[in-house]
């Protein structure tokens, strides 16, 4: 069986199951008179069926077993990706308390460092990223009139 396929199909199966369960809590109605829960239920059942087939298929797929075969995460810079995702999530939560300028400077600096750890020194990174945040701030706030949180900087005003 091919593990990655199986896991994917299992996820879908679980998703379908949850969907079914939740849809049943709503009124279903009949096919001639569908109510709120009708479609979600139908869809969830469909998903269960299809993911069931995918599960069975994945069980019968042969895992490519040889020493040359790359593992699932081969070629994927997992650490970088996790850092990038983590950085973005953190940005989302820090954006309002810290304000746009500070949060963005931190984010860009972080991302540049993650991308090429050796190439950047902390100081130049911060200078560049502060510059970028200011430029984008002007771009978005002035030109496109986006509302940005001021955050910490409000204390300075």
């Amino acid at each position: 069986m091919k593990k990655s396929e199986l896991i994917g199909a299992l996820f879908l199966f679980v998703f379908g199951g949850i969907g079914c369960f939740e849809a049943l809590k709503l009124e279903i109605g009949t096919i001639s008179n569908p109510k709120t829960g009708f479609f979600p239920f139908l869809l969830a059942v469909g998903l269960l069926l299809i993911s069931g087939v995918l599960i069975i298929k994945s069980l019968s797929m042969r895992e490519e077993k040889s020493d040359d075969t790359p593992g699932f995460w081969e070629g994927v810079p997992l650490k970088k990706i996790l850092l990038v995702v983590g950085g973005m999530v953190l940005y989302g939560f820090l954006l309002e308390p810290l304000g746009y300028l500070i949060a963005t400077t931190l984010l860009i600096a972080f991302l540049f460092k993650v991308a090429r750890p050796q190439r950047w020194r902390w100081l130049s990174v911060f200078v560049w990223s502060a510059g970028i945040s200011i430029i984008t701030y002007v771009l978005f706030k002035v030109w496109l009139q986006v509302q940005f949180p001021v955050g910490l900087l409000a204390a300075l005003i």
Binding site: S4, E5, I7, G8, L12, F15, G19, E22, L26, I31, S32, N33, P34, K35, T36, G37, F39, P40, L43, A44, G46, L47, I50, S51, V53, L54, K57, F72, G75, V76, P77, K80, I81, V84, V85, M88, V89, Y91, G92, F93, L95, E96, T104, L107, I108, L111, F112, A115, R116, R119, I132, T136, F140, L144, Q145, V146, Q147
Partner: protein, 502 residues
């Protein structure tokens, strides 16, 4: 309005300062991302969604369309010079285009590719102007029954032609529909799957999902993957192809244009499949098929024309029926929805400024593109040297700001990131995002039209077969579902391009 009057009206929209600026920005950005590998038109359009808010619907549409066909021009540049396709529709151009560059004929390749794109693009736009209005007239007779059937058919085609496993594509479509049900049910007013969260009660926003699934996931996918190659150092004398080149390319351009236009109309095809089919066609028709792959100009002229004509063709279902035939058009549909423009058969009547504005802007756009692509090629080549490590933080920042600017809700940022990760994992195990996006966008419409149709017919399901148009659509649907069992050759053609498409 007669055709000529409509075109003049459209020109008044597209040649206005706002329209021209939108068109120019669109084609410029399109060329840029077409040249740069690692980001494609769908991701870019998704990222531009928030910016499009500030524009009028017509200008927003003009800009987005410009990004799409602009990317087709830009993509050929990297294919020819670096053997890396700037985006998927230009994969075929790598074959003979790069070979020509190696022979010192990069100039001719670039030139014929730009001119071919221009000619075919213009052909496509003219086709669009001629075919769309009558089709839109027919579409006016569409009620909820017909709309549901069209959606069903479109969805079937997209899953049928999806690259990779059809089952997986259907599963993705179902997931998309399920996600579309999150929020307040319009026909009954009850909240579904909202779990008390105010964010979710509004429904899963199209913007965070699309930006996450296409934008963020593409960046995550390409971290570390996009390396700099040596750009072909040719000093090309001129970008004008020789007379001989023109002679050899005239047929391919014409055929590619027609082929691309008609194929682009079909749901699920987009601009990616036509170039492959054009290449195969030209090879079959050529007097020297063995030369293909060594630098045969027909192998560049045909596909490049096909992908540009296909962009025009793929706009037809969206502009006339409100049905997006592929992921790019689905994002464009999202633009309409965000601006409160109800897509559908009435678009031409109720928003002629969008309809004719876009069509006429494509003329202007093609002209701008040929100016941008030929003389300015040196600039694009220099841009290829920007390392991805600098680009991707900027792209991610635009995504983050973009999502935030739509609703000022940090939870939407989180939703976007979640879908970014999901999109990445999906790519890893070969699940297509396109059907998911399509059904997310269309899901509400599909459910509503089905329920409306049933309300009108008082629960009678037979109504779908009684009304002539929907009966016809349903028959197509059934043919499509059972076709693979009946005609293996048809499926084989598409299978072949599926494999190359990855």
């Amino acid at each position: 309005m007669g055709l000529w009057d409509s075109i003049l009206y459209g020109l008044s929209v597209s040649l206005s300062p706002e329209g021209l600026l939108a068109c120019f920005s669109g084609v410029l950005i399109g060329t840029l991302i077409g040249v740069l590998p690692g980001i494609g038109p769908v991701a870019t359009m998704s990222i531009l969604l928030p910016i499009s808010f500030k524009m009028s619907p017509a200008s927003a549409t003009i800009m987005m369309a410009g990004v799409f066909y602009g990317a087709m021009y830009g993509g050929s540049t990297t294919s020819i010079l670096v053997n890396i396709p700037g985006e998927t529709a230009s994969v075929v151009t790598c074959l003979d285009g790069y070979a020509m560059a190696r022979k010192g004929r990069a100039g001719a390749a670039l030139g014929i590719s730009a001119f071919g794109s221009f000619i075919a693009g213009t052909m496509g736009v003219m086709g669009l102007a001629l075919v769309a209005p009558p089709l839109a007239e027919t579409a006016l007779r569409f009620g909820p029954t017909e709309i549901f059937c069209v959606l069903l058919l479109g969805f079937a085609m997209i899953t049928y032609l999806a690259r990779g496993s059809t089952l997986k594509a259907i599963a993705m479509g179902i997931v998309g529909f399920m996600l579309a049900t999150v929020g307040i049910d319009s026909l009954s007013g009850t909240a579904r799957f909202a779990y008390g969260s105010i964010t979710l009660m509004d429904g899963l926003g199209l913007v965070p999902v699309v930006m996450g699934l296409f934008g963020v996931s593409e960046v995550l996918w390409n971290i570390d993957k996009v390396t700099n190659r040596d750009i072909f150092k040719t000093t090309f004398q001129g970008l004008l192809p020789s007379g001989r080149d023109w002679k050899d390319s005239a047929g391919p351009i014409a055929r590619g244009g027609i082929l691309g236009f008609f194929l682009g109309i079909l749901p699920g095809v987009g601009a990616i499949i036509p170039p492959f089919i054009s290449y195969a066609l030209e090879k079959k028709l050529s007097k020297h098929p063995e030369r293909f792959g060594t630098g045969e100009i027909a192998g560049v002229a045909g596909p490049e024309s096909a992908n540009n004509a296909a962009t025009a063709g793929s706009m037809i279902p969206l502009l006339t029926l409100g049905i997006p035939p592929n992921a790019v058009m689905a994002v464009l549909l999202g633009v309409f929805l965000i601006h409160g423009v109800p897509p559908g058969p009435n678009l031409m009547q109720e928003h002629p400024e969008i309809f004719w504005g876009v069509i006429t802007s494509m003329y202007a756009g093609n002209v701008m593109l040929i100016i941008l692509n030929l003389p300015l090629i040196g600039i694009w080549v220099k841009l290829l040297k920007i390392p991805y490590e600098i680009l991707f933080p900027m792209i991610l920042l635009f995504c983050l700001i973009g999502v935030y600017s739509v609703s000022n809700n940090i939870w939407e940022i989180t939703i976007m990131i979640i879908f970014g990760v999901v999109g990445f994992l999906m790519k890893k195990i070969n699940y297509e995002p396109a059907p998911l996006i399509l059904s997310l966008v269309l899901g509400r419409m599909a459910e509503e039209s089905l329920r409306q149709a049933l309300v009108i017919s008082k629960g009678d399901l037979g109504v779908f077969f009684q009304r002539p148009i929907s009966r016809m659509l349903l028959i197509f649907f059934l043919i499509l579902v059972f076709a693979p069992l009946i005609s293996p050759p048809v499926k084989r053609i598409f299978q072949k391009s599926k494999q190359h498409g990855d």
